[in-house]
Amino acid sequence: MITTYNCRHTTVYNYTLPVTVSHHAAHLVPRALPTQIIHGNIIRVTPEPAHRSTRTDYFGNNVFFFTLEETHRSLTVESLCTVTLCEHDFPPADETPPWEKVRDFLASARSPEALVACQYVFDSSFVVTSSAVEAYARPSFPPGRPILTAVVDLMHRIHCEFTYDPKATTLATPLKDVLGHRRGVCQDFAHLQIACCRTMGLAARYVSGYVHTCRTPSPTEADCSTMLIGADASHAWLAVYVPGVGWVDLDPTNDTMPSIEHITIAWGRDYDDVSPLKGVVTGGGQHTPRVEVSVTRRPTP
């Protein structure tokens, strides 16, 4: 089964003081994947940037750089893309290797694939492991448990034991507070589960993207009873490396294994590697970003 989506991701900054110069880096161009076909992508920036350039980053993501050199009081970045997702099968969780085997494999592996996975085993700026994280993760990792069974169990636990609460955290909230208050947003849950996996010696990466929800139902959509969280803003989840299978995506916010409703934009070690839009501005004073994301399913022809 395949599904095609139109995505629109708008970010608006209104500054209280004029900005004279600003430099931005955006992870807004979706990645092309075997299960994700990109039909087209446009990024509109208002005011018109003085300079644009692109680069593929260390993790293989598309980065879009732009610079504004005229004085402005607001900035609008609108990213439009059309993406087709192909449904894929999940490996039978019970048949995946025991998690300790994966841990030992990563610790000694030399294959190019394992080397790539090794990038995602260690602490990074937003994912700092600790004994508290380890204590939280441990119950999902009894000896000999197949890795996928373990991480799916961990995902269930995070989904059940944590409350989705956009007011509870900010970008700067450290993991230990998220763990303490049991509240957060998709980014916090993704970071938490990544930290749990890494503390067990496993490779886990952060995935940034969009999730399709039924907020703007198209005529072909019959049932919208299962609405996913993550609309209105970009979404985040994680992927865990399973030798022999590859990277398996997990969405602890929605307690689901992403398939044909999650559009992947970029991945990295954590949010810091792939934040959708960052920048350095001269001037600006206070600024309040407004983000809107809409993902609509295109009627199948």
Partner: protein, 865 residues
């Protein structure tokens, strides 16, 4: 007796009488004497020369060295030191000597090491073959916070990422040199080594000339040539800058020093901007593209967009410019990853793999805990090892044998929690060298830092280096941060050395350059304010002196009412006007005038002086001097050494005066008057230095414009104060005002009558030939602005030119003797003072808008998913 035999005798004498040198620690290597107590051969000539010096001469030379250091302002900033952020550099008069044959081995070994490290860097940020082929454990690289992924794949100019490299060396008891640390990001110390050389050569001119000591200048010529060749642009002279994190960095002195020595522009992050993936220097004449940067800023802080978003020292977009290949950064961003001591454990193997030869100089034995076998070894040998975190900033090295059992358990826990973050190293025993202390030679542990630069696809070493001496015997960590002194390092040649200096490069004469270096907006801003504070300091002191003089004279004659009033008026003219709060000062214009005699005059006077010596007090003299010193630090590379010294001495004198006032509240006021005279002479000398010795370039123009503007405002303040006081025509206040404005002579030459208001006002406002008059300042400002704004279209005027022209017209057409003014001269003068003061303030704002960077913060911007 042959010459040789004579020197032998001299040496014996020296060892016997002068030295009484005994090696403190057994089982270490002493640089000067062998295990049998005999002098090592390469020290013989130096000691023979020392022995011929008269008694006490070495101590005198040491003191001369200290004075030279103070005079040239060599400093080293100590973090977290509130008292004074600069600490004078310390230098021992005994250099560290290296024989020619030994130097050859050192140089060869370090060239090999630099070559190897450069190849490793190239691989890590490129193909990563070392990881793929299994020569490096992935965790070593991937867990390191200084492995900066955004730099991966960045094109390296001429495949050189490691342009400048330094190694810290120690000598083990068996006489072999070991590398104890690699400096690969932004190695410091070469500038200090150079300064040490200049000073040591000056205190031992005789010895330095007679011993064949390798010169340092050729090395810096090569550095310069290498930097020039790094330019991505072909053709014309590349623009090279030294990018400093700023005056609060511990080695800022060196940044300014090297920039000046190499003839390149010193910049900080605010001076640079990225436009269209190119880096530009913000100058008064617009943006100028930068081709090559020596960076002294830590890797992570160089770009807030792609590296550390919390950096306020960086250039947003620098990484992208590096990727675009429009600018060369030396050393390459990301090079700091090699400073991790964990690498020491892998270098021997990597050397065989990459260079197909053995590593020539060993590193201190190092075990990286990220590997099982090594971790087990460390755990079972903790007593003989020192454990370090991979980031030196995170943890002091801990030696197992010095730990309590609780500390030990704690350390083991920390290692086990993240073993890949720790290394253990053998405890280093350093060699000792003689240090001149309390009139005798003592043996002290030393560490030597040797610098290399890439050159012609290989490396060359600076024949010399920075030798640092541990503060006390037996300490194995040596750092200027933790105190300690330094030594010049002499590499002794086997043949006479050609004297070379960077100032006159040999060979074909180079192209003449005038007004060479770019003036950044930030420097212009600082020069302008330096001018203002310089002038303000002098003028404030003049008023203080006038007030004090009037008080001291008055006290002699018995205080009359007129005299008291004069004092009150004079005090009201002090800048800020409210320095002594409600007790004696007056509002600048209008308002109720308090009776100044409510407080005994003498205590008022003392209070005023105390306030002005207090740097904390806003708008006082001390405050101005503080600003002056701070700005001078920031633009130090623009000031001549004499100017720098003069500012330093001025600040010191004002501080001393302040201390005197506080420690002796009833001190002699006459004495104080002398002090103030001294301060005035110093500020005048400083002005003279600036006028006579500074190149008439744009930075001088901004400095002088600042002085002119300040002086103009001051003249208006003085005159307004006089008019406000409503003093009678023959008031002594007029005398005092003439005194303060240093115009007494001019007045007397013009008028035979005692001072009167209208002629005084004319002299201070409209007299074109009086260097203290308003019109004189405006003319000077006009000249500066004409010179600064040369790029404008002919026939058009910049906003600041227009403002000055308008003011000049007003002042030049002022007619104080016209019938309209008769009888109300007070009012006319008062009005003109107010009007002009407002206009000068507007002018200052215009200059700010036109030329100076606004200190607008750059902020990181994020969106939350």
């Amino acid at each position: 007796m042959t010459e040789k035999a004579m020197s032998q005798v001299a040496v014996k004498k020296s060892v016997a009488s002068l030295l009484q040198y005994s090696v403190a620690a057994r089982g270490t290597f002493d640089e000067m004497t062998g295990p049998d107590g005999q002098l090592r051969p390469h020290w013989a000539d130096f000691l023979a020369a020392l022995a011929t010096l008269p008694d006490g001469a070495l101590q005198k030379r040491r003191e001369k060295g200290l004075r030279l250091i103070r005079d040239s302002g060599v400093t080293y900033n100590v973090y977290g030191d509130k008292a004074g952020k600069d600490r004078p550099w310390e230098l021992d008069p005994i250099p560290f000597l290296i024989a020619a044959d030994e130097w050859r081995i050192l140089e060869e070994s370090l060239i090999q090491r630099a070559t190897l490290l450069n190849l490793i860097l190239h691989d890590l940020y490129g193909a990563q073959k070392l990881l793929k082929d299994g020569y490096l454990p992935p965790s070593l690289v991937f867990s390191h916070p200084e492995f900066w992924r955004p730099l991966h794949g960045a094109s390296l100019p001429r495949n050189t990422s490691l342009v400048l490299y330094a190694a810290d060396l120690a000598r083990s008891p068996d006489g072999r040199w070991w590398v104890i640390g690699d400096r690969t990001a932004a190695p410091s110390g070469a500038g200090y080594a150079l300064e040490n050389r200049i000073i040591t050569a000056r205190i031992h001119p005789d010895i330095y000339k007679n011993l064949w000591v390798e010169r340092l200048a050729p090395f810096f010529l090569k550095v310069h040539e290498t930097l020039r060749r790094l330019s991505p642009r072909q053709g014309d002279m590349p623009r090279i800058v030294l990018y400093t994190p700023g005056p609060y960095n511990e080695t800022y002195f060196e940044h300014a020093y090297l920039a000046r020595y190499l003839g390149i522009t010193l910049v900080d992050g605010e001076d640079l901007t990225n436009r269209g993936d190119r880096v530009y220097l913000k100058t008064l004449n617009g943006l100028r593209q930068v081709d090559v940067m020596i960076r002294r800023t830590d890797d992570g802080y160089c770009d807030p967009l792609e590296l550390r978003s919390d950096s306020s020292l960086g250039i947003a977009g620098l990484v992208q410019a590096v990727h675009a290949g429009t600018v060369s950064v030396a050393n390459g961003l990301g090079a700091s990853v090699l400073e991790s001591p964990a690498w020491l454990a892998f270098l021997p193997r990597l050397c065989r793999v990459m260079l197909h030869e053995d590593l020539k100089m060993p590193s201190v034995a190092t075990w990286w805990c990220g590997q099982k076998k090594e971790l087990n070894y460390v755990m079972s040998n903790l007593d003989t090892l020192c454990v370090r975190h991979l980031l030196p900033s995170l943890a002091q090295p801990l030696c197992g044998r010095n730990l309590s059992s609780a500390e030990r358990v704690n350390l083991i826990e920390r290692i086990m929690a993240s073993p890949h973050n720790y290394v253990a190293q053998e405890i280093v025993s350093l060699s000792t060298a003689p240090l001149w202390n309390m009139n005798r030679l003592e043996s002290r542990p030393v560490v030597m830092r040797i610098h290399l630069t890439s050159y012609n696809s290989s490396y060359v070493a600076m024949p010399g280096g920075l030798t640092r001496v541990a503060p006390a015997d037996g300490l194995s960590t040596v750092s200027m941060q933790h105190g300690g002194t330094s030594k010049d390092t002499w590499v002794l040649s086997e043949k006479p050395v050609e004297p070379i200096t960077l100032l006159r490069p040999a060979g074909a004469p180079s192209k003449l350059v005038r007004g060479a270096r770019d003036l950044s907006s930030r420097v212009a801003d600082n020069m302008f304010w330096m001018g203002r504070h310089l002038e303000r300091s002098e003028l404030t002191t003049r008023i203080l002196r006038a007030a004090l003089a009037s008080h001291v004279e008055g006290a002699g004659q018995g205080a009359g009412l007129a005299q008291e009033e004069t004092l009150a008026i004079v005090l009201s003219m002090l800048s800020g006007h409210s320095v002594i709060g409600d007790q004696a000062a007056d509002p600048p214009c209008g308002g109720e005038r308090r009776n100044p005699t409510t407080l005994p005059q003498e205590s008022v006077m003392r209070q005023v002086i105390r306030i002005h010596c207090d740097p904390e007090h806003f708008s006082g003299l001390g405050h101005s001097i503080c600003h002056l010193q701070r700005i001078a630090t920031v633009v130090r590379d623009r000031l001549s050494l004499d100017t720098w010294r003069a500012i330093w001495r001025l600040a010191e004198t004002v501080r001393c005066t302040g201390r005197g006032v506080i420690s002796q509240p009833d001190g002699d006021l006459d004495e104080m008057l002398l002090r103030l005279n001294e301060v005035i002479q110093m500020t005048e000398a400083l002005s003279g230095l600036v006028m006579e010795n500074m190149t008439r370039d744009l930075s001088w123009r901004f400095l002088d414009a600042g002085r002119r503007l300040e002086r103009a405002m001051h003249v208006l303040d003085l005159l307004a104060g006089t008019v406000e006081a409503g003093t009678a025509e023959d008031s002594p206040v007029l005398d005092v005002v003439l005194g303060i404005s240093d115009s007494m002579m001019t007045y007397r030459a013009r008028y035979l009558v005692p001072p009167a208001l209208v002629p005084l006002a004319d002299l201070l406002l409209s007299d074109e030939s009086n260097p203290r008059s308003l019109v004189f300042q405006l003319s000077a400002l006009q000249e500066h602005m004409d010179a600064i704004g040369v790029d404008r279209m002919p026939g058009t005027f910049t906003p600041e030119q227009k403002a000055i022209i308008a003011m000049l017209a007003t002042v030049r057409t002022l007619d104080l003797e016209s019938p309209l003014s008769v009888g109300c001269a007070h009012k006319v003068i008062g009005n003109i003072c107010r009007e002009m003061t407002l206009k000068l303030r507007t002018l200052s704002e215009i200059l700010n808008l036109q030329y100076f960077t606004h200190a607008v913060e750059t902020l990181p911007l994020f969106t939350k998913p």
